[in-house]
Amino acid sequence: MAEIKRQSHLLVGLGSPHGDDQAGWLVVSGVEQRLAGYSKTLACRLAKSPSDLLDWLDEVTHLIVCDACESATQLGELRFWHWPEDRVVRTRSSNSHQLGLPEVLDLATTLGRLPAQVEIRTIGCAAFAPGTEPSLPVRDACSRLAQQLLEDFADA
């Protein structure tokens, strides 16, 4: 993983090894493979828990989080949110011992560590069974999003 530099962009894939939940990881891995060594200001990270973000925010000015999104989207649908202008719908976490993405971003704001620009890119997903591969529409959508991000960061 690239070292994070001052004035840098941080691209984080949130996910797990379970089915479509790998979407965030697939996007970021796709970007990293093709950008490796070319970008000095973009760092890529894979996270299992949103709270991992809190370890990586220092000196980051632009944060992009890619994550699977289950509700209110179609399979493979790509959506783009600006935080905090577009409030992400909060659902109660299935694990109250972990902070969800909105809580982590709120906490980063409170602690004065939220980057100036925060984007959330979501991929519409449906199946999260343990040990399964991501579905084809999700894989295709991840490739499309990785390509979009590469174009966005072509000059980064």
């Binding site: 299992k48 709270s51 109250s96 011992h97 972990q98 409170t110």
Partner: protein, 435 residues
């Protein structure tokens, strides 16, 4: 007959900052408390039935799934019980690695609880996020300490949540010396941070509320209890773990999908957790934890449940100090896992989860299949005690401001750091007033 106009109902629809989903119902006639129920409505998870017919090697991985915050407690209790059934004696090296893994779980669980779940109650905030505005250093420290616990679990357990490296007989893989040594600088920082945490916790303002508790935990002659020991009560009684079920019983109550534990013929409630451990094991805390307890004037036995947050701080220090000791002297064990032959048998074990005593018993057949499983988590054991505490505490805090009453109730419930998902295996308080 009581008049419906005099019925008062206070509801906490959703108790936050606990793990799992449940509610609290209080019924009052005038100012007399008629009924207190910790209502747990999270669906039963039926792990004991799920284990029947499974290979015994699957048990530590399946039971780890009972909880995301204390999977090690389930793994440790299950492997010790199965090892008893199979007649396996583990080596001292494996034993130390198991304590190291348990230290990781205590660190992540206690660090999260004291900084982000319970401290906001004492400082007047609705959440750890709100508290972070005025206490950024404390919140950042809590997050960093929790991460250390996760790092230890990842290194030794294969991953931070639901570890996969614990085996009957030991570990599937012992860590390399360089992996272990790499953690030392973080844990040296963490030990001092844990001391700072405990000094800070000691400055909180605690309600003046004490009770004559029957506190129960493991006691081991040589060490602060984690993986083994006798079951001991502050009343002076003690039991071999094999006699646990003769003294401690579980009953179903209509308002809870979790079984409630009680003790003895009187079916009395009892209290498990860090306060019980400190009260019965203060002399076996690590040197820095003992010194800090003396420095902050933490007197034992302590019968104020709100001070359990300080007990957690002291255990945090202990866990860091023991971790450092193991990390600094670590040599990879010659044998990471003891081989065994299947045989029909039965075994049980009790260990100390972050939130208290946990008991497992298994029966296996000569093909290595589980034929019976019994799992008693700490929150099941504390449920009746929590209801009893609330019955005693409510008269001190009851006002017409029902939201304030509910907040006080939640604060008391959180002293137990309940893990409701484990006990079925969030809280809704209903107070109904008659008269």
């Amino acid at each position: 007959m009581t008049s419906p106009q005099n019925t008062r109902t206070i509801k906490v629809e959703a108790l936050t900052r606990v793990e799992g989903e449940g509610g609290l119902f209080v019924r009052l006639v005038g100012d007399r408390i008629e009924d207190v129920q910790l209502t747990i409505f999270e669906p039963p998870r039926l792990f004991e039935a799920l284990l029947r017919g499974r290979k015994l090697e699957e048990v530590p991985d399946i039971t780890a799934r009972i909880c995301g915050i204390c999977p090690v407690a389930y793994q440790m209790s299950s492997v010790h019980a199965l090892e008893m059934a199979l007649g396996i004696e583990i080596t001292e090296d494996i034993r130390r690695l198991r304590r190291l893994l348990y230290c990781g779980e205590w660190i992540e669980s206690h660090a999260l609880h004291v900084h982000l779940l319970h401290a906001p109650d004492f400082l007047g905030y609705d959440s750890g996020i709100d508290m972070a505005k005025d206490f950024p250093n404390e919140v950042n420290r809590g997050l960093r300490l929790k991460k250390h616990g996760n790092q230890l679990l990842e290194m030794l357990g294969g991953r931070a949540i639901h570890p996969i490296n614990v085996a009957v007989g030991g570990f599937y893989r012992a860590p390399r010396r360089d992996e272990v040594a790499a953690l030392i600088p973080d844990f040296e920082w963490g030990l001092q941070a844990a001391v700072d945490t405990t000094r800070w916790l000691a400055t909180l303002d605690f309600p003046d509320f004490t009770r004559a508790y029957d506190m129960v935990c493991l006691v081991h002659p040589d060490e602060y209890p984690m993986n083994e020991g006798r079951v001991v009560s502050t009343t002076g009684s003690s039991w071999d773990v094999r006699d646990y079920e003769q003294e401690f019983h579980e009953d179903h109550v209509a308002h809870s999908t979790a079984l409630q534990s009680s003790r003895g013929e009187r079916q009395a409630c009892y209290h498990v957790g860090p306060l019980a451990r400190i009260n019965l094991n203060r002399d076996r805390l690590s040197p820095t934890a003992r010194r800090t307890a003396d420095e902050i004037g933490f007197e034992t036995p302590c019968w104020n449940p709100f001070r359990a947050i300080i007990a957690r701080g002291l255990e945090l220090i202990h866990a860091y100090e023991e971790t450092l000791d193991i990390l600094r002297t670590y040599r990879p064990p010659a044998i990471a896992r003891i081989k065994y032959e299947y045989r029909a048998g039965q075994g049980c074990a009790a260990t100390e989860a972050p939130r208290g005593l946990i008991y497992h018993r298994y029966e296996v057949d000569d093909a290595g299949l589980v034929t019976f499983a019994k799992i008693v988590p700490p929150t099941s054991q504390n449920q009746r005690q929590i209801e009893d505490d609330l019955r005693d505490y409510l008269p001190h805090i009851l006002t017409e401001d029902e939201a304030a009453t509910a907040r006080h109730c939640e604060k008391l419930v959180r002293c137990y750091d309940p893990c409701i998902s484990c006990s079925t295996h969030f809280l809704k308080l209903t107070v109904q007033r008659d008269g």
